[in-house]
Amino acid sequence: MSRNISRLIGVKNISFLMVLSMVGLLLIAGCGGSPETAPAPQTPLAQAEGTGAEDVPRDPVVIRLEGGDWGYCSPFTHYSRGPGIFKMQLIFDSLLERSEDGYVPWLAESWEISDDGKTYLFNLQQGVKWHDGKEMTADDVVFSINYYREYPPVSIFFGGILTDPDYLLEVTAVSDYQVRFVTSEAKATFLPAAGLARIIPRHIWENVDNPHDYLEPEAVIGCGPYRLTDYNKEHGTYRFESFEDYWGIQPRVDVIEFVPVSDTILAFENGEIDLTEIPTDLLSRFQEDPEFAVKVNPGFWGYRLLFNYERIEVFSNKALRQALAYAIDRQDLADKIARGAGTPGNPGILPVHHVWCNPDVPQYAYDLERAKQMLQQEDLTDLSLTLLVGQDREVRIGELLSEQLAKVDIQLRVESVDLQSRDSRIRDGQYELALVGHGGWGGDPDYLRSRFLSELSDWYTGTPGYYNPQVDELGQRQLSETDVNKRKELIFQLQQVLAEDVPEIPLYNTTGYTVYRPDKYDGWMYMFDHHNLTHSKLSFLDWK
């Protein structure tokens, strides 16, 4: 019996054992340590092998962050999640970069878009060096795009319009420092899609025909500010050193190391890592101490409630959807589930921290009376619905929603399955109501179109059965509008229409807190559409 429980619990959380042992009456003995009395930290990698401290004359800045294996850092072999993507991006530069405010010129120092919005001419920086000393030219840019068409990289933005031969008709090097892209129609998402594609060296990759298995040291030669000097898949450690011949803004951080840690908060307190995310209840621990600085992450990760229009007929009744929006206390969800580290979902879909969020859309403030009234008017009493959720926190959200909706006499049964089953059931449309949480809410607002356009009837990315001609029209117009201000105006209108129509209910966006020691390093910044400080390349550079 005791063997069972120690095995059971040991799997999940060693510290739980410590609590058991502290209380006495014990089934298990001698495992782990409580957060306060943890064993001495592991020697950080750098101390073990000696840092670059001796090689660099000035005092080098060495930043250590939480490790973990996220794949080898070539555009074809990293893992397709944030930590894998941004490590690769430290090595490989792109035509544009993402700052706190928007896209900024990077390898492309300027660009021109033709009046019809179909042709783009990028003027490249001169004197850009690859890590092996060769010069980067327009040839490499053209090669990269063509290579991606044959071998798609792990992460590609905006649904692969860059690799679609029917859309991107032609990429040519006009001179050594000019590249022209010709497309079949004007699309607002083309500039970021082309701008964020990583440029790879032609002289290395032209001889490679198995990029997804290509793990040579040459695979991580880019023209970005950092070189990969050590990678250990088993330990999940990485070491990046700044590239001395970097063409652009100089790195402020000389060495970035990713070290294995078991508990990030503990490791941060012990100084093993220099930055960590913390839950709300630990805020007071760090907030008052001047040694630490706390940043509030923008809410670009969130949960939303999906309606299955094809399965449940009454969902096509707008009044019901609006009544649900009134009956769900989104602030309560953010307060209880996210412990206040969240912003209530915005009926206009784009979260409040999105650079293009329209603040004037109807808000559906929590109003039970109004919800009841609307339901009665529509003769929709005694509704009984099933909500599909994943596990853990999502079950809690489901329980809270069911409690809230019971107040307007809607029976909500919570059905919990594991995350993979949840995703595959959403993909097959096997649900009535579903809860889904994901990131990317800060990205290009074109997702308002792809999510609610009536023609796109994919269960995973779209909303089958939902039809609103205004949404369709505005969605298409904003996509072909290449004038930023006009497009923003259209996106604002689109949010207004969506908020009025409630095609789905965004529940809340998690914000969360990041804490670091400003004395050690204070250059941290977000990207305008992303919630993680360490994922921004500019965080490590001397960007002002």
Binding site: R7, V23, I265, L282, A406
Partner: protein, 283 residues
């Protein structure tokens, strides 16, 4: 008659056994009388989040503001149902298999014994995790899965006992006088088997309760059942709970009650085993 028997058992119990019995009875009372001894709803929030014990909330509240004392009282039902259900199912199944094997002998016995050997060497937890994930998480499925993995122990004990009894003179005599198999099993074997089976079932109950809590804690239990294991699961999923004071009630109390129940079953089981052990009884 029944009362007499109870008081006889009570006298034979050690002090530990008596404590175990009292605790067990109290916990059963808690489960049965849950609606009368709680004053807050157990499934919806009734106060602020994570309120420390005291005032209207005897044991505080969890992060949704649901009263913990109510959750623990109603959760006792889940734990006891799982314990009782598994013990009955596995105990009965094991008894049938064991009696059959021991009484029939021959190749039937050999096949059944090898099956039991396989069940015993099979690593139960990993397979249970897979089965629980495969069958989906409902209370009924959990009980079935647990019973599937625990019938072999009572089956072995029962078989050994049947083998010994079969050679007893009075049973041989009964057969010579023409007593049928069923007659002998029900009339002569069963009364001898019941005490030892009961002990084995108490052990099974303890095991089942811990395993259910474990499965819930791993996220494989019925997520809406609100068993003790699930309360622990929710508490542990709360990030940084050990850096906060919340574990002092949210995690501690469900753990305490779980431990009390298991300890009570273990103490009682130990005493009953001593009482029921045929060598002690006959000696």
């Amino acid at each position: 008659m029944f009362l007499l028997k109870i008081s006889k058992i009570w006298q034979e119990l050690t002090a530990f056994g008596r404590v175990g019995l009292v605790i067990l009875l109290l916990l059963i009372f808690m489960a049965v009388a849950a609606p009368y001894i709680t004053w807050q709803p157990h499934n919806i929030s009734s106060g602020p989040s994570l309120k420390p014990p005291g005032g209207a909330h005897l044991l505080g509240t969890d992060e949704l503001g649901v009263d913990l004392w109510s959750q623990i009282c109603y959760g006792a039902r889940v734990s006891l149902i799982v314990g009782l259900g598994t013990a009955l199912l596995a105990g009965l199944g094991g008894a049938i298999v064991g009696t059959f094997a021991g009484y029939r002998g021959g190749w039937t016995e050999r096949v059944l014994m090898r099956l039991i050997d396989i069940m015993i060497v099979m690593p139960d937890l990993p397979v249970m995790v897979i089965l629980a994930a495969f069958f989906g998480s409902s209370l009924r499925n959990i009980i079935i899965v647990l019973a599937l993995f625990s019938w072999s122990h009572p089956a072995r004990i029962v078989r050994a006992q049947v083998l010994a009894l079969k050679e007893q003179g009075y049973i041989k005599m009964a057969r010579i006088y023409g007593g049928g198999d069923l007659y002998i099993i029900f009339k002569h074997l069963l009364p001898e088997l019941i005490p030892i089976l009961a002990v084995s079932m108490i052990r099974l109950a303890g095991m089942a309760i811990v395993t259910e809590a474990g499965l819930s804690f791993l996220g494989l239990g019925d997520p809406t059942s609100r068993s003790w294991g699930l309360i622990i699961n929710h508490a542990l999923n709360f990030s940084g709970i050990y850096f906060t004071p919340f574990w002092k009630w949210w995690l501690f109390y469900p753990w305490l009650f779980l431990t009390l129940l298991i300890t009570a079953l273990a103490l009682l089981g130990r005493d009953l085993e001593r009482i029921a052990d045929p060598r002690v009884a006959k000696g």
